[in-house]
């Protein structure tokens, strides 16, 4: 199954892109900054028409584009929302992005949607369900997707395998690729006391199609260490260190700076992307 859509304008380069959010759109369209690729949330294009599609077409004309979904809820025990899946299929068919990604999580039960990336237990039951739903997604889209590990504030005591084994088995059994969020690995390592380096070392480099980087916040006063994946500040030095290890271990992969709240001026994101590029240049380029 192809990773990129045959009709996509430009493939994602092995470089550091930026997540494009509405407050920066005008800047990007006016200045056309030198950014290797942009990533947008798939759900921003769930509208039938209007300015978001106009923006997308303009961005896609000049830049490689990846679409990153946040609302499909692949891990829901009662199945995928057929309306959401159908709309995603239409969006991907029309947008023809170079990459499509979603999350290893759940976020809806019945008709109730929580619009959040909620954690799954790492059990055989959850794994089988995820494999089934990823199959369904890849079949609907007729392409391979990347799945991202999520940050979490809960660890289920009845999990039977570590998170990295769950991810690896999911990729192996469904044929999907992995979008490795290094910040989420770090956040989870603090929140759940897992070994972040071992996590990365356990991932097969050939499964990884993209890496995400973002900032987190420290939650105080709860009686224990807790990091919240807020995407509202610069990448933490500890995450840069882990990213350096990831690049060394996994090889050069497309990477992305995500910033979703309290957005700074665009040049701050460009500066973060420049930093990530320095780590990437230490590694020989590898085609996607």
């Amino acid at each position: 199954m192809p990773l990129a859509h045959p009709g996509c304008a430009q493939p994602i380069p092995t470089a550091v892109g930026i997540g494009l959010r509405p407050p920066h759109i005008e800047h990007v369209l006016e200045r056309r900054p030198d950014v290797p690729f942009f990533e947008l949330h798939s759900e921003n294009l769930f509208c039938a028409g209007g300015p978001m599609w106009d923006v997308f077409e303009q961005v896609r004309r000049d830049y490689p584009v990846s679409l990153h979904g946040v609302g499909l809820s692949l891990g829901s025990a009662d199945g995928l929302d057929p309306t959401h899946l159908q709309r995603l299929r239409e969006v991907i068919g029309r947008a023809a992005p170079a990459l499509v990604s979603e999350h290893v999580c759940w976020g809806a039960l019945g008709s109730r949607h929580f619009n959040d990336l909620l954690p799954l237990p790492y059990t055989e039951e959850a794994l089988s369900l995820m494999v089934e739903h990823v199959d369904q997604l890849q079949h609907a889209l007729q392409r391979r997707v990347l799945l991202e590990n999520v940050s979490s504030y809960i660890h289920y005591t009845h999990s039977t395998m570590p998170e990295w084994e769950f991810l690896a088995a999911l990729a192996r059994r469904s044929g999907c690729g992995l979008l490795l969020d290094v910040n989420n690995i770090y956040v989870n390592s603090i929140n759940h006391g897992i070994d972040a380096v071992r996590y990365i070392d356990s991932i097969d480099p050939t499964m990884v199609g993209e890496i995400h980087l973002a900032g987190f916040s420290r939650k105080q006063g709860l009686g224990g260490p807790l990091l919240i994946d807020t995407h509202d500040q610069r990448v933490d030095p500890a995450v840069w260190q882990l990213y350096a290890h990831a690049v060394e271990r996994l090889g050069a992969k497309p990477a992305l700076i995500e910033w979703d709240q309290q957005l700074p001026a665009f040049d701050v994101l460009e500066d973060e992307a420049r930093l990530a590029t320095e780590y990437l240049h230490a590694c020989a380029a590898e085609p996607v």
């Binding site: 025990a77 039951e125 289920y156």
Partner: protein, 265 residues
């Protein structure tokens, strides 16, 4: 120790914790590491509510301006907790927020609030609507000539209309510039025609009769049926006056030629 929950049991418990604020049966299956499992669940509950309230804030800017930030936040939080989201796409959250606000006894004195929220929602629908091309003057004339005496008039998908028994559009505009504008809420009924122009929402005041006409056309009624709907409100209104705003804003996309079966009936 009881058997661990199945995935559907776990998610049902988690959902209860998010909606009702507690799910004791779930707590034994959440690792503590110095932080109470209930506190860990509460982080998700707060995050979900914050995301949904933020989305409502983006969809109902005039309501927020009129109620004030704190009051809006309170009602949006109650709505999100009670109603929740029915879609993985947050653009759909708030479809009945106007009805919810209107039904609250504490807000009963704000008789304009429900319709103001409906106008905010229609603005969002307008911005997200499908694209379409309007007929130019020559094509429009040709289409009218070819379509017979009583055609259906197809409007651009971005066209919406609503009316209220007070000056709704004046109130909406007042919320943007309260220092420079004033609004007389006893100024009588007012309709609003909405469409998309250069990626922005355009709005124009119109009569409630015109709104009835536009809505009937949007439901694919024939011109005569739409005119009757308008004249039920204002018997003196003319077809020229009703079509004027649609022609002026170039909102007609087609006047289909009826097929034979339709002509026979």
């Amino acid at each position: 120790m009881p058997a661990p929950p199945s995935l559907s049991e776990l998610q049902a418990g988690f959902a209860r914790a998010m909606i009702e604020g507690a799910a004791p049966e779930l707590l034994p299956w959440i690792g503590a590491r110095g932080i109470e499992p209930a506190a860990r669940l509460q982080i998700y509950r707060n995050s979900i509510l914050a995301t949904q309230v933020d989305s409502l804030l983006g969809s109902f800017p005039a309501v927020e301006r009129m109620l004030g930030a704190d009051c809006f936040d309170g009602w949006a939080t109650r709505y999100a907790a009670w109603h929740g989201s029915r879609s993985g796409n947050l653009q759909n959250l708030g479809d009945d927020f106007a009805d919810y606000l209107q039904a609250q006894p504490e807000l009963a004195g704000l008789t304009w609030l429900g319709d103001l929220a409906r106008l905010d929602w229609l603005r969002q629908r307008t911005i997200l609507a499908a694209d379409g091309d309007a007929l130019d003057a020559a094509a429009l004339q040709a289409a009218f000539d070819a379509a017979g005496d009583d055609p259906r008039v197809q409007l651009l998908p971005c066209m919406h209309a609503m009316s209220a028994d007070f000056p709704l559009l004046d109130l909406w505009r007042y919320t943007e510039s309260p220092d420079q504008l004033s609004v007389a809420l006893d100024g009588g009924a007012q309709g609003v025609l909405l469409w998309r122009e250069d990626g922005q929402v355009a709005m124009q005041a119109c009569s409630p009769a015109a709104v009835a006409f536009f809505i009937a056309l949007k439901r694919s009624e024939r011109l005569s049926v739409a005119l009757a709907a308008a004249q039920a409100i204002d018997p003196d209104v003319s077809i020229e006056a009703l079509l004027g705003p649609l022609l002026g804003a170039a909102l007609i996309s087609d006047i289909p030629i009826p097929d034979c079966r339709e002509q026979d009936t």
